[in-house]
């Protein structure tokens, strides 16, 4: 029982902090999708659709919207799990306050991840509302993009938390965003099918968790769910999450219990 309750107590800390800023983040969570969907789905989409050559044979808006939702989950999760983790170790030292109490390093990690999940969940829900309002969701399956987004998020947030707890220099995050997160955002099936890429890059795209996330969200909003691939994508994302979880647990232990 304690092992369930203790992470929730660490989670309360992050919620108390979030309470001060949540209004601002809700605004951003709605404005960002509106801007992206308008520019790419409606703006660029109008041109793409005129070519009569739209990917997956659907309006470009419908194609790109679930990709954007998935990519946003990746970004939210990555941001929330990098600087804040390092901050809780080096700057505010909040983690050290936690482990001086009955909480252990696992509770500290899980409690923080619960908050990251909360952020992914709320921003994905806002994204879903926006793309639905734009008419980009054609199936009830679309509701499942929210839990799918959470899974995409944890596939990134757990390994990144493991890294954040192991490194000293926050500039590493800038490198990671520049050379991993941004290329994944651009080239992993969000905006165009990866089959358009040179073969080596196409194969690399299949390895990234985000490609699986985008594919999963797209079949959900388009209502083209096939059980096999859907389970495959889910399992792949879950795999990253679980490996990340184990790495983070070790990395937190090494860092906090010196």
């Amino acid at each position: 029982m304690e092992s369930v309750l203790q992470p929730l107590r660490a989670y309360e800390h992050w919620l108390a902090q979030y309470k001060r800023v949540w209004r601002g983040t809700i605004g951003t969570s709605l404005v960002n999708p509106i801007l992206y969907v308008t520019a790419l789905g409606v703006g660029l989409g109008t041109i793409v659709d005129q070519t009569q050559n739209a990917p997956a044979g659907v309006p470009y808006l419908d194609y790109v919207a679930p990709g954007l939702l998935a990519a946003a989950a990746m970004q939210t999760a990555s941001i929330e799990s990098s600087w804040p983790v390092m901050g809780a170790i080096k700057w505010t030292r909040v983690y050290y306050a936690m482990i001086a109490t009955p909480l252990n390093e696992r509770d500290v990690f899980v409690g923080h991840q619960l908050f990251v999940i909360t952020r992914i969940f709320t921003s994905a829900a806002a994204y879903l509302v926006v793309i639905t309002a734009f008419g980009a969701v054609s199936s009830w399956w679309g509701i499942l993009t929210v839990p799918a987004a959470v899974l995409i998020g944890t596939a990134f947030s757990t390994p990144l938390a493991a890294l954040a707890a192991a490194i000293e220099d926050e500039r590493t995050f800038v490198t990671i965003f520049r050379f991993l997160i941004v290329p994944m955002f651009l080239f992993s099936g969000t905006f165009f099918p990866v089959s358009q890429l040179p073969l080596a890059f196409e194969l690399a795209a299949y390895v990234t968790p985000i490609w699986h996330g985008v594919e999963l969200c797209r079949m959900l909003t388009l209502g083209t769910v096939e059980v096999g691939p859907a389970l495959g994508h889910t399992a792949y994302l879950l795999g990253w999450t679980l490996v990340g979880f184990e790495l983070a647990r070790r990395s937190y232990r090494r860092r906090l219990l010196g």
Binding site: E2, L5, Q6, R9, A10, E12, H13, A16, Q17, R20, T92, R93, V94, Y96, A97, M98, I99, A100, T101, P102, L103, N104, L256, L257, G258
Partner: protein, 302 residues
């Protein structure tokens, strides 16, 4: 409350704590005194059950930290060396959230927090953010926070380092009250006056080992003399050996000479009789600082 035998802490090749024995009894105010890097904080972290023991036996409140870490920590109050307060939250929220880590309900915490903030004289700042508070206020808040679970054992790692004299005295006053209430606590410090003010018994640590143990008074008796005469000379220093026999122990420093003696007045007049007119003479009681410097040396430790 604390029982340690042959306690060792290693970080790779580095031996931070090198086989110390320790017993702290209920109601005792116990101090670790030592220069930076002596192993005080590493010992404190092992006692606080947040750093595994490399070797030796350690029992806190009768339990083994390796097996019962969370249970032991539930009964400890920790004031860390560096503040771990949440600057974004208010004074009250900081104590509240910390109390929640112990599984205390918001209902039982409410009156408790009022009481604690009153105790550390922060009631008026309860609703303010922590960020703009002074260093002394932050320390007091950390102390209030450490008391939220009504701990059996309080661990204070350099509680007044970095505070101005007024703030230090307020902190000492609060800690003294806790001592009067019968709380057991362990303090690390490199301030001699702090150790003298707060500790019933202390150990001096150097290079990971305990080099002396006793009450402040016992240590002064054992390792120093009752009084010390400090003499300074204008420009011409008397030759070596002229102080011979004037005191029990003589220490010549670049700027002054320290004469450790039982009777300061007698020593001072003896020097004057030898025709050595010093620029200034100060006769004072021996302090823990004399003990400390005698035991750990004057070399600067970085």
């Amino acid at each position: 409350m604390i029982h340690a035998r042959g306690l060792v802490k290693r970080f790779g090749e580095l031996v931070a704590v090198d086989g110390i024995d320790l017993d702290v009894k209920q109601g005792e105010a116990f101090g670790f005194l030592g220069p930076n890097g002596a192993g005080k904080s590493s010992t404190m972290r092992m006692i606080g059950c947040v750093s595994p023991v490399s070797e030796g036996t350690l029992r806190i409140l009768g339990q083994d930290p390796a097996e019962h870490g969370p249970q032991i920590r539930a009964r400890l109050g920790v004031v860390p060396q560096q503040d771990t307060l949440d600057f974004e939250l208010t004074v009250r929220e900081n104590v509240l959230i910390y109390g929640r880590y112990f599984g205390l309900s918001r209902r039982e915490l409410k009156p408790r927090i009022d009481e604690l903030l009153d105790f550390v004289q922060l009631t008026e700042r309860a609703g303010d953010k922590v960020e703009p508070l002074s260093g002394g206020m932050k320390r007091r808040l950390t102390i209030a926070r450490s008391l939220v679970n009504d701990p059996d054992l309080l661990l204070l790692d350099e509680p007044t380092t970095g505070l101005d004299p007024q703030a230090r005295h307020v902190v000492w006053d609060r800690l003294f009250r806790l001592k009067q209430q019968g709380k057991t606590f362990v303090v690390t410090t490199h301030y001699m006056d702090e150790a003298e003010q707060l500790c019933d018994r202390l150990v001096v640590m150097d290079h990971g080992a305990i080099v002396a143990e006793g009450s402040p008074w016992q240590l002064i008796q054992r390792y120093s003399t009752r009084e010390v005469v400090e003499v300074r000379f204008e420009d011409e220093r008397p030759q070596n050996g002229v102080f011979e026999g004037a005191a029990e122990r003589i220490e010549e420093l670049p700027d002054r000479v320290l004469l450790y003696t039982r009777d300061g007045d007698a020593t001072a007049s003896a020097i004057a009789e030898r025709g050595l007119p010093p620029h200034s003479t100060l006769i004072r009681r021996s302090t823990l600082e004399d003990v400390f410097l005698h035991l750990t040396g004057r070399t600067l430790v970085d």
